[in-house]
C-alpha cells in the first residue's frame, strides 16, 4: 500500500511510483490582480496527493496554502500548469460541470465550520445530499447514521448554537463525509478548537484517510496535529519547498501516537530538489 512506502526524496512534491494519485498538480501558477497590483500567489506548484493518505499542507501565513486548496477544489481557476483531480483535468471542465464534479467527489471541512445556524445537526449533515437531489427523508436518515459514526448520535436534533465547538466540527465532518467523497479538503479544521477536541477531530480524519480510495488534504498551522499526517508538504512563498513522510509510528496510531498525543512534529525526511 502506498502509505507504507518508504520515505524517499521526491521531486517537488511528486509521489513516487504507484497507483495514480488522487491529486496531481504540475507547474500550477495562480495570480490575483493585474498590472502593478498583480500578485502571484502560486509560483509553479508540483504536488501529488496519494490515495489513502492524509496530506498535511503547512507553511507560513500568506504562503498560498488556502489558494492551493481552492485551486485543487476547483473553486479558483489556475493561470498556468496542469491539475488532475481523481484523474479528471479539472481546469478543462466548464463551470457547471466543475461544480457538479466538486459536489459529487469532494467534501469540505472549514475552519469556521460554516454550519447553517437554523438547521439541526442532522439537517446540516443532509445538505450535500439535498443539493444533489436526494429525497429529504432519505437524506436525513443517512445524515443521522453519519452523525452516529462521528459520535453525535444523541445530538442529531440540536442546532449548532447548542453544540460545543468540537461537536460542531464533528457535524461538519459528518457533512463532509455523508456523500462519501473521494477527496476530503480541510482548511484549518482544528484552528477553532481546543487541543483535546483538535486531536479527536484529527483522529477521525486520519481514519477517513485510511479508508481505501480516499484522500484527505489538511491545511494547518497546528504543529500538535502533525503526527496525524502521512506526509507533510511545506508551502512557502508560493512554492512547495519540502515534502516529507511522517514516520509510521507517529502517523498510524501506534502507541504514543493516538489522538491525545501532542508530540512535536517529526523532522523532515524528504525535500524537493
Amino acid at each position: 500500500m502506498e502509505r507504507d512506502m518508504p520515505t524517499a526524496t521526491v521531486h517537488a512534491g511528486e509521489a513516487p511510483e504507484g497507483p495514480p494519485p488522487a491529486v496531481r498538480v504540475r507547474g500550477v501558477v495562480k495570480s490575483f490582480g493585474a498590472g502593478d497590483t498583480k500578485v502571484t500567489v502560486l509560483k509553479g506548484i508540483d504536488l501529488d496527493v496519494r490515495m489513502g493518505e492524509l496530506l498535511l499542507l503547512v507553511g507560513e501565513s500568506g504562503g498560498g496554502k488556502t489558494t492551493l486548496l481552492s485551486v485543487i477544489a476547483g473553486i479558483l481557476d489556475i493561470d498556468a500548469g496542469q491539475l488532475d483531480v481523481l484523474g479528471v483535468p479539472l481546469p478543462q471542465l466548464p463551470g457547471g460541470k466543475k461544480t457538479t464534479f466538486r459536489g459529487r467527489t469532494m467534501g469540505f471541512i472549514f475552519q469556521q465550520f460554516n454550519l447553517l445556524p437554523a438547521l439541526t445537526a442532522a439537517e446540516n449533515v443532509a445538505v450535500p445530499l439535498l443539493i444533489h437531489g436526494t429525497p429529504k427523508k432519505d437524506a436525513i436518515r443517512r445524515a443521522r447514521t453519519m452523525l452516529e459514526t462521528v459520535g453525535l448520535g444523541d445530538r442529531t436534533e440540536f442546532v449548532p448554537a447548542k453544540l460545543s465547538g468540537g461537536q460542531q466540527q464533528r457535524v461538519a465532518i459528518a457533512r463532509a463525509l455523508v456523500s462519501e467523497p473521494r477527496l476530503l479538503i480541510c482548511d484549518e479544521p482544528t484552528a477553532a478548537l481546543d487541543g483535546e477536541n483538535g486531536q479527536k477531530i484529527m483522529a477521525i480524519l486520519r481514519d477517513v484517510g485510511r479508508s481505501p480510495g480516499r484522500a484527505v488534504i489538511v491545511v494547518t498551522h497546528d504543529s500538535r496535529i502533525f503526527h496525524f499526517g502521512d506526509r507533510i508538504a511545506e508551502l512557502t512563498d508560493g512554492r512547495i519547498v519540502r515534502v516529507h513522510s511522517v514516520p509510521a509510528a507517529h502517523s498510524r496510531g501506534a502507541p504514543g501516537a493516538d489522538a491525545a498525543s501532542t508530540e512535536p512534529p517529526p523532522a523532515p525526511e524528504e525535500s524537493p530538489s
Partner: protein, 376 residues
C-alpha cells in the same frame, strides 16, 4: 433545497420578522390608501351612479356631474326624436338652501325627477315611498341629510321645512351613496324642484335617456350627440369624466399617489435592504453551499423562494389588516373605502416587483460570490 431555504428564512427570526413587517406595512399602506382613494372616486361620481341611467345628455362643455350647465327645455323632445332612444326624461340638479323649523340653514343638492316615471330615483328607501313625491310639497331626503341636518329627531318622515322659502314636506328617506362634497340630497319632482330653484331662463340640467334594447348604448349616445349638438355620455363615460376632473382639479390624486408611491418605495427599501443584509450575513453559508456543489442557479432559486414566501405571507397579513381597518373605520360609510379586486391585483403586482427587486440584488451578490470565501 427548498426545505433548507425555508428553514434559513424562518430560522433567523429577527430578520424574518423585520422583513415581514416591512412588506406587511407596505401592503397595508398601499391597500388602505388605494381603497380610500378609490372610495373617494366612487363618492365623486355618486351623483351619476345613484341615478343609474344609461345615457346623460347635457352641455357639450360640461366637465363633471356637479357642474350644471343648463340646457334648453326643448332638448328632451330632441333627444326623444333620435332613432334608437327608447325614452328620455328631464332632470333638474341644483344647489338650494334648506331652512329648518329651528331656524338652521343647510345647503342641499336639489334633484328634480320626472314626475310620471320618477326615473333617476334612489334605488333604496330607508323609510317612506318614493311614489309619494307626487303628493303636494313632497320631498325625499337621503340618509346623509338626516345625519347632517340635525339627526333623526329633526329630520324624519313628516318633517316640514323650507327650500328657498318654499314649503317642503319629507315623505321618505332614501339610502344613497355619499356625495364627494358631502352635501345632502333632496329629491322632488322636476316641476317642484324647478319651482324651488331660483328663477332663471333655463332650468333643465340634464336629459336622462335609455337606448332601445336592440341598440348598442354607445352607438345611440354618439347619435344623440351628432343630432343634437349636445354632449351625450354613457353612465360610465360620464363617471370617468367626473373622476378625471376631480383628479385634475383637486390634490387628491397627487396626495394619494404620493402616499401610495411612498408606501411602495418604503416597502421596497425595507424589504430590499433587509433581504440584502440577510444574504450578506449568510454569505459564508451560501459560499459553503456553493463549495459543496450547489449551483448559482440553485442558490438563486433558494433566494427567490425565500423572497416570495415572505412576500406572500406579508401580502396576506397586509390585506387582512387593511380590510380590518376598512371594516372597522369605514363600515358606516363615514370613510370612503372601496377595496376592489383590481386594487388587490395591482398591490400583488407591486409586491412581486418588490420581492423581485429584493431577490435580484441578493442574487447579484451571490452570483459574484467566490466559494473561496469559505476558506478565508
Amino acid at each position: 433545497m427548498n426545505y433548507v431555504a425555508l428553514k434559513m428564512l424562518f430560522g433567523d427570526r429577527a430578520k424574518y420578522l423585520m422583513l415581514l413587517c416591512g412588506l406587511t406595512f407596505c401592503v397595508m399602506l398601499i391597500v388602505q390608501q388605494g381603497s380610500i382613494f378609490w372610495g373617494l372616486m366612487i363618492w365623486s361620481e355618486s351623483g351619476i351612479s345613484n341615478l343609474n341611467v344609461q345615457i346623460w345628455v347635457t352641455d357639450p362643455n360640461i366637465s363633471q356631474v356637479a357642474e350644471v350647465k343648463p340646457i334648453a327645455p326643448t332638448t328632451v323632445e330632441r333627444v326623444r326624436s333620435v332613432p334608437g332612444v327608447e325614452w328620455a326624461v328631464p332632470l333638474y340638479r341644483g344647489v338650494g338652501r334648506a331652512r329648518l323649523a329651528n331656524g338652521e340653514y343647510h345647503q342641499i343638492t336639489l334633484m328634480g325627477l320626472d314626475a310620471s316615471t320618477l326615473i333617476g330615483r334612489p334605488a333604496h328607501m330607508e323609510e317612506g315611498r318614493i311614489e309619494d313625491l307626487r303628493t303636494p310639497d313632497a320631498v325625499v331626503v337621503d340618509q346623509w341629510a338626516v345625519e347632517r341636518m340635525g339627526g333623526p329627531e329633526v329630520i324624519k318622515v313628516g318633517t316640514i321645512f323650507e327650500i328657498n322659502d318654499r314649503k317642503a314636506r319629507i315623505v321618505g328617506i332614501a339610502h344613497v351613496q355619499k356625495d364627494f362634497q358631502n352635501i345632502p340630497s333632496v329629491y322632488a319632482t322636476f316641476e317642484r324642484a324647478t319651482a324651488y330653484a331660483p328663477p332663471e331662463r333655463r332650468l333643465l340640467s340634464y336629459v336622462l335617456a335609455k337606448a332601445r334594447d336592440n341598440e348598442p348604448v354607445e352607438a345611440v349616445t354618439e347619435r344623440i350627440a351628432e343630432q343634437t349638438g349636445l354632449g351625450a355620455f354613457t353612465q360610465e363615460e360620464f363617471g370617468w369624466k367626473t373622476i378625471v376632473w376631480v383628479l385634475k382639479n383637486t390634490g387628491i390624486g397627487i396626495n394619494f399617489g404620493t402616499t401610495i408611491l411612498l408606501g411602495f418605495i418604503v416597502g421596497m427599501a425595507i424589504a430590499g435592504q433587509t433581504f440584502y443584509l440577510f444574504t450578506v450575513e449568510n454569505l459564508k453559508q451560501f459560499g459553503a453551499l456553493k463549495a459543496m456543489g450547489a449551483s448559482t442557479f440553485a442558490l438563486a432559486r433558494m433566494i427567490i423562494l425565500q423572497a416570495f414566501t415572505v412576500g406572500i405571507i406579508g401580502f396576506g397579513i397586509g390585506i387582512g389588516l387593511a380590510t380590518l381597518f376598512g371594516t372597522l373605520a369605514a363600515s358606516k360609510g363615514q370613510l370612503p373605502f372601496s377595496e376592489t379586486w383590481p386594487l388587490l391585483w395591482i398591490v400583488f403586482g407591486s409586491l412581486l416587483a418588490i420581492c423581485t427587486f429584493s431577490a435580484s440584488i441578493s442574487i447579484i451578490k451571490l452570483a459574484k460570490l467566490e466559494p473561496a470565501i469559505v476558506f478565508r
